[in-house]
């Protein structure tokens, strides 16, 4: 009786396994939930954006999509985890690769290279925004530059090692202003940086503009690191326009490039799955429903596609490596 039962069980298991195998060969990807690795804590700007995206993506792919936070080491822990996953299309990652990857790859000898990844879509390219608290002693770009010329007069807040950090130091270098003139506070995240700015702890700050909307009521926007004026922030002058009278020009370093990432091996080993994922994601971003919902929540909603996005990430990576000497 007992052996009959276990035999029946074995046959059943075998059948299921074979059935599973058959399904596998036919490749009905995706036939199980997909994880989006989020290598940062819950609640930040990038996290909110991916959590908003996930249900739309789940509907388009016909499978649950789970956002799993794997924070640590300034996104290193989660990225290493993602890099170790099989390139089968069931684990993808959503991350602002710069500036973090620069430190991981150039300094920490991380076990991955930039070429191990395909940046499927840089869905939001944030711009660095210079803001001043409403009660700050400096209220214009020129006043800030004047103040910077006096040693120790001004203080500012940035996220440590960020594009804003580098852009600010690079601008001072180009203007021949010694870095010591500025009392620069390097916070370890967007939250503390924004708190310090609206609390008037510092005279000005530079933040990723997209994702800092929560403080916009309490600050004046002065300058944006971009080629053109952002229509959402008409008050912020593009950096090179603001610098024209000083006779210097700055390279445009993008702020957080919030991007969907897959392993490069996925495209080699499962080109169909890769295409299916990219197409589904594209259809989501371009859908009216998603556009409307993302607009309401103030989330980036661009479709740049894999080629342009990967190029964009590499360009910023190169600039950051070039100017990382400024951080020493």
């Amino acid at each position: 009786m007992n052996s009959w039962k276990s035999l029946k069980g074995a046959v059943l298991t075998l059948g299921l396994a074979l059935g599973g195998q058959a399904a596998y060969a036919q490749d009905d990807y995706p036939n199980k939930p997909i994880e989006i690795t989020a290598p940062y804590d819950a609640g930040g700007a990038t996290d909110r954006m991916v959590r908003h995206l996930a249900p739309f993506l789940a509907e388009a792919l016909g499978t649950p999509v789970n956002v799993v936070n794997r924070p640590g080491g300034g996104t290193l822990t989660g990225t290493v985890y993602f890099h170790n996953q099989p390139a089968d299309g069931y684990t993808v990652m959503f991350i602002p690769p710069t500036p973090y990857f620069v430190n991981h790859i150039e300094v920490m000898n991380a076990p991955f290279k930039l070429d191990d990844f395909i940046f499927v879509n840089a869905q939001e390219v944030a711009q660095s925004l210079m803001v001043v608290p409403k009660e700050s002693q400096v209220q214009s770009f020129d006043e800030i530059i004047e103040g910077l010329k006096e040693p120790g007069k001004l203080s500012a807040a940035v996220i440590t090692g960020s594009s804003e950090h580098i852009s600010l130091l690079l601008m001072m270098e180009k203007l021949d202003i010694p870095a010591e003139n500025l009392r620069l506070v390097t916070y370890d995240g967007g939250g503390p940086t924004r708190t310090a700015i609206i609390g008037g702890q510092v005279d000005f700050g530079m933040v990723p503009g997209q994702g800092s909307e929560v403080i916009f009521d309490q600050v004046n926007k002065i300058m944006v690191v971009a080629d053109e004026t952002n229509p959402d922030w008409p008050d912020a002058t593009p950096i090179n326009e603001a610098l024209k009278s000083y006779g210097v020009e700055m390279p445009i370093l993008d702020s957080s490039v919030r991007s969907m990432v897959v392993l490069a091996k996925l495209k080699e080993e499962y080109p169909d799955r890769y295409q299916k994922f990219v197409d589904a994601y594209k259809s989501v971003v371009e859908s009216e429903e998603y556009q409307a919902s993302a607009k309401e929540g103030n989330y980036g909603r661009d479709w740049r596609g894999p080629e342009a996005s990967t190029e964009l990430v590499k360009r910023n990576y190169g600039l950051l490596v070039e100017y990382s000497r400024l951080l020493e």
Binding site: G43, R48, G73, M108, T160, T195, A196, G199, G200, Q201
Partner: protein, 504 residues
């Protein structure tokens, strides 16, 4: 700005009265929170994050009610293992263990749990009451606190190291310094790596919760291995609902500690990035400092439990103030709440408060109701949990260690968690054996990196100019209070000694 907008109060009551659904989720939420908080290694943040997907199918107000119930439940849940097995369920209940566990060992486990629950629920209630009265102002006060003020707050907690001596003062201080030092392992505030010896696993520093459980709990469990039960005497080893209730009602004897603890909790909880894990330590240190009999702390003084539990629970209200008024999360739990807000396309902040005062008030009132329900749910929960005293140590120790191992794996997400727990269990046992006060090391570990970061920010913001301090009146007042509070007991002792000399 008006203190209270009564029109909005009316509308808020309207929101609360329109549907029964938001009320129906409170009790499951409280249970989930209690269970999560009570399991060592599962943090309140984690359990809220786990519950987050359920809220996708709820409307905004119901979702917030549910998640804040989990938050409220977890706020007390951590106290249960702290009191019964010296294993704080979360970092917020570290100092609950200091007097709660000695009470248990003396056979006063029923009372300790009752007092803890009372302090917890009343503390939370007070914090929401304060929030209701001051929401327009609280957030602005918090913003005025710069890094230097935050460093002062943290130092207040660190001074507690001096009071946590396990029989030997100098070794207690050394243990605290050990904690502070290992707290700085990892990426420093200016981005450089320290003390990692090239291990990428140490980039984020020593994982605090597994290390804390190792230092406090497993070390104590090894010591317990010689006893047969947590409560030595059989006649004390009783489970008595009436004594839990007596403990609950008895909290009124400690109302001063309760009020002070609640105020400390609201204030400290509101500061972004500080929260309940620091609040309970500061409150405990404060209670001991003003006590007429400081030596009784750490030996089963109910004031210690009240101080810790009132402060860690009332931090919730403070953290909610920062979240609602500024859109900034004060700690891990509110960060997840913020994500829940985002899922419903709501961002906290001054604009949110100004435009939706009715919703804000409804959230506050709903939370006050949660406190009342926590009394009932909590009493039932501890009535079940207290059975632990009947479990022989022989079975208890391995079960707790296995649970803690699994919990620390879940928390860290890799083998670093259990490894840290194992290493620090040995360290903790050695420390306890040679009187190097393990709790002092835990306090150092919890606060070391934080206070250092705030000092680095202060240094950056002042450009290294010490006169900067004189431009910070709040910090100066805090500094003066700190010095006075350290000097006062010493002076009192000196005067007492002189007086007795004169009499003699």
């Amino acid at each position: 700005m008006d203190l209270i907008d009564f029109g909005a109060v009316g509308l808020a009551l309207g929101i609360l009265g329109t549907s029964w659904v938001p009320w129906a989720v409170i009790i499951p939420g409280l249970f989930a929170g209690l269970a999560g908080g009570a399991l060592p290694g599962i943090s309140g943040t984690m359990i809220i994050a786990l519950m987050l997907p359920f809220t996708l199918y709820m409307d905004f107000f119901t979702a917030v009610m549910f998640l804040t119930s989990v938050f409220t439940g977890a706020g007390f849940g951590g106290a249960i293992p702290a009191i019964l097995i010296n294993t704080p369920g979360t970092t917020a209940s570290v100092s609950t263990a200091f007097d709660g566990f000695p009470m248990s060992r003396q056979g006063r486990h029923n009372e300790a749990l009752g007092i803890g629950l009372a302090a917890s629920t009343i503390g939370t209630f007070i914090s929401y009451l304060v929030l209701f009265l001051l929401i327009n102002y609280a957030s602005w006060a918090v913003l005025k606190l710069g890094p230097f003020e935050m460093a002062m707050v943290a130092i207040w907690g660190i001074t507690m190291i001096a009071t946590l001596r396990g029989g030997n003062f100098e070794r207690g201080i050394l243990a605290g310094i050990f904690g502070l030092m290992i707290g700085t392992i990892g990426i420093g505030p200016t981005g450089q790596m320290r003390g990692t010896f090239g291990f990428a696993e140490l980039l984020d520093g020593i994982p605090v919760v597994p290390a804390m459980i190792g230092l406090l709990a497993t070390a104590e469990l090894f010591n317990l291995a010689r006893s047969r039960y947590i409560v030595e005497k059989q006649e004390d080893r009783v489970i008595s609902f009436s004594r839990i209730l007596q403990g609950f009602a008895g909290v009124r004897e400690y109302w001063k500690t309760l009020l002070r603890g609640s105020m400390i909790g609201v204030f400290v909880g509101a500061i972004p990035g500080v929260g309940a894990s620091v609040a309970n330590l500061i409150s405990y240190a404060d209670a001991r400092r003003i006590s007429d009999d400081p030596e009784s702390f750490g030996k089963g003084n109910p004031n210690g439990v009240v101080a810790s539990e009132s402060a860690n629970s009332s931090s919730e209200g403070g953290a909610m103030a920062t979240l609602l008024a500024l859109g900034l999360p004060g700690g891990g739990g509110t960060a997840v709440l913020l994500a829940a807000f985002a899922m419903h396309n709501i961002t906290g902040g001054p604009r949110f408060i100004a435009d939706n005062k009715d919703i804000v008030y409804a959230i506050l009132f709903g939370n006050m109701v949660q406190c009342l329900l926590l009394v009932i749910v909590g009493l039932l929960f501890i009535r079940i949990a207290v059975i632990i005293v009947k479990v022989p140590i022989l079975y208890l120790v391995p079960s707790v260690i296995v649970l803690a191992m699994a919990g620390s794996y879940a928390l860290i997400g890799n083998i670093m968690g259990p490894l840290t727990l194992a290493v620090f269990s040995i360290v903790g046992w050695l420390f306890a054996r040679y009187e190097f006060a393990p709790p002092a090391a835990v306090v150092g570990l919890l606060l070391g990196a934080f206070v250092e970061r705030q000092f680095v920010y202060s240094h950056q913001i002042s450009g290294g100019d010490l006169s900067f301090i004189f431009g910070r009146p709040i910090a100066l007042v805090m500094l003066a209070l700190l010095i006075a509070s350290i000097a006062y007991p010493a002076m009192k002792n000196y005067l007492r000694a002189r007086r007795s000399l004169r009499v003699g």
